[in-house]
């Protein structure tokens, strides 16, 4: 009796947490197609007006362009730098690699506001001009740990005899990497890049402080939130969710990463 009750209570908490995590996002998507400007039930009707309003804004296209540039650069750089690090960490003893994970993971633990302000003050004292580049550099710090985690996990169950055979047969380290290692871990790298891109695309706080001028998609949302109730926010929010959640869904399939 008691056991059944406990089980029921736990399941209820699970369902509530599930609703709690998913419902807000689901409602944004739902109401981006609703013809009323208020998010209330029952929905008045179906419309694509908010999407039309969104794509007719000039600042939407420049924000999309900036987001694409930042996200693309972060994806490539974080994956390249994170993968080379993972190749070393995967061969460390357990204690050493735990330390490496801890150190590289530190930026993930830091609130984005702190990361942004520390970088902002350093850039300003060094005379570095704020631009998309400073945003990309800042994004590397908190996207790289995810790449390192995912790629190290893949390299751990990697058959190193293949590399050694290639080397025995006279291939240079670089040739071995591009003809043996890379093709084998390609799906994982692609997945890791998508995770890095999703995190970068979603960042608001760091981008806001370090971009200098212009908008990305999240800072555009912020601007729209401050100017009042604009249902196009639902459409823009849906677009951001589609890009971030879509790419992480693909990534999780590719990497089979489960936490």
């Amino acid at each position: 009796m008691n056991i059944a009750f406990g089980r029921l209570a736990n399941n209820t908490i699970g369902v509530l947490c599930l609703i709690f995590m998913v419902a807000p996002l689901f409602l944004v998507v739902l109401f981006s197609f609703g013809s009323s400007s208020l998010m209330t039930f029952p929905m008045a009707g179906f419309t694509l007006d908010w999407y039309r309003a969104l794509v007719s804004r000039e600042d939407f296209w420049s924000a999309l362009e900036n987001s694409a540039i930042i996200t693309g650069s972060v994806g490539v750089l974080a994956t390249a730098i994170g993968t080379t690090a993972a190749m070393v960490i995967a061969r460390m003893r357990p204690k050493q690699s735990a330390t490496a994970f801890f150190l590289f993971g530190l930026p993930m633990m830091m609130p984005p506001l702190v990361l942004a302000l520390a970088l902002l003050s350093l850039f300003s004292v060094l005379g570095v001009k704020l631009s998309l580049i400073t945003v990309v550099l800042a994004h590397l710090t908190f996207t790289m740990p995810f790449v390192i985690l995912i790629v190290t996990a893949r390299l751990r169950d990697f058959d190193y005899t293949m590399i050694d055979s290639a080397r025995d047969l006279g291939a240079s380290p670089a040739k071995t990497f591009f003809t043996v290692t890379f093709p084998l871990i390609r799906p994982t790298l692609f997945g890791a890049a998508l995770i890095a891109m999703a995190l970068s695309l979603d960042d608001f706080v760091i981008t806001f402080f370090l971009i200098g001028g212009g908008n990305t998609l999240p800072t555009l949302v912020w601007g729209m939130l401050r100017t009042g109730l604009d249902p196009s926010i639902n459409a823009l929010g849906t677009l951001i969710l589609l890009l971030t959640i879509g790419s992480s869904a693909v990534a999780l399939r590719l990497t089979r990463y489960r936490g």
Binding site: F20, A85, Y160, W222, R258
Partner: protein, 285 residues
């Protein structure tokens, strides 16, 4: 096992250097500079090197209440999130494919996107004409819409718990997966009730993950300024808001840096106490 053979062992250790450069140049370096600046002074709108604890004394004197409030709400949010996350992670670990698959998918997918979108969605959900109030009035649970749902500390707790849940579930699920089910079966065979088995055999093995989840939620909350500003109303001023304002109009970087470090130091102290408490209470039996 990947026992490295001599040919492939340790030859390319230098490959880690770019990542070290990113960590050192873009994280550790700026954090150290920020610490040094926290001892500097501002005079005539310029930052002047100085080495005294003036900024810290000022923060302690003028922001004592906000610091306490920030610590209290961070503790509350981190505790609620960690407890709920453990229940969900435990469900994912123990339940059959369908339900646990749903939970895991929701966790992983909501992890990687929608920070501002989530806050915005909650704002419309909790508003006077929002879905929550409409439902409560419609069901006759309350007569008038509850104004205090939005623009109150309650809203900050709701929004941040919902935002942080996936971040807390993952480390806990990872820890649970590495526990051998034999341990639990043994405990149950010896007559332990499910709850006792969880308390004596499962939870003690999750202490590092519990602390990780708690620390992550605590630090993110302590440093957040967007959520309190968007849904917290005027009476919910957290340290993040005060820190942020030092970099806007007021432009007092040294004071802002001192606020940041004081918040981090107090946060780390609270997290350490929680760690010690968990280690003492959750001892394997």
């Amino acid at each position: 096992m990947n026992v490295a053979t001599p040919l492939s062992a340790g030859r390319n250790g230098a490959l880690i250097l770019p990542a070290v450069a990113v960590l050192a140049g873009l994280f550790i370096g700026p954090m150290i500079y920020f610490l040094i600046v926290s001892f500097f002074k501002v005079s005539l709108f310029k930052i002047v090197p100085a080495f005294d604890l003036g900024n810290y004394a000022k923060v302690l004197g003028a922001y004592g209440v906000p610091i306490l409030f920030t610590m209290a709400i961070s503790f509350l949010i981190a505790s609620i999130t960690t407890v709920l996350a453990f229940v969900v992670a435990h469900l994912i670990w123990t339940r059959g494919r369908g339900f646990s698959g749903f939970l895991l998918a929701a966790t992983l997918l909501t992890l990687f996107g929608g920070y501002l979108v989530k806050i915005y969605a909650w704002r419309t959900l909790l508003g006077r004409d929002g879905i929550v109030n409409n439902t409560l009035v419609g069901l006759g649970i309350v007569r008038e819409p509850i104004e205090a749902l939005l623009y109150s500390p309650i809203a900050v707790v709701l929004v941040l718990v919902s935002y942080l849940l996936p971040f807390a579930i993952l480390p806990l699920y990872g820890a649970l997966r590495s526990i051998e089910t034999k341990t639990i079966e043994a405990a149950r065979d010896l007559g332990a009730s499910p709850w006792v088995a969880v308390r004596d055999a499962v939870l003690p093995r999750c202490v590092p993950a519990l602390v990780t989840a708690f620390a992550l939620c605590f630090l993110v909350t302590a440093g957040d300024y967007v959520t309190p500003r968007m849904v917290g109303g005027t009476q919910t001023m957290m340290m993040g808001n005060f820190i942020e304002s030092q970099f806007g109009l007021r432009m007092n970087v040294p004071l802002g840096a001192a606020m940041t470090y004081l918040t981090i130091i107090v946060s780390v102290a609270v997290i350490s106490l929680v760690w010690i408490a968990l280690k003492t209470v959750l001892r394997p039996k």
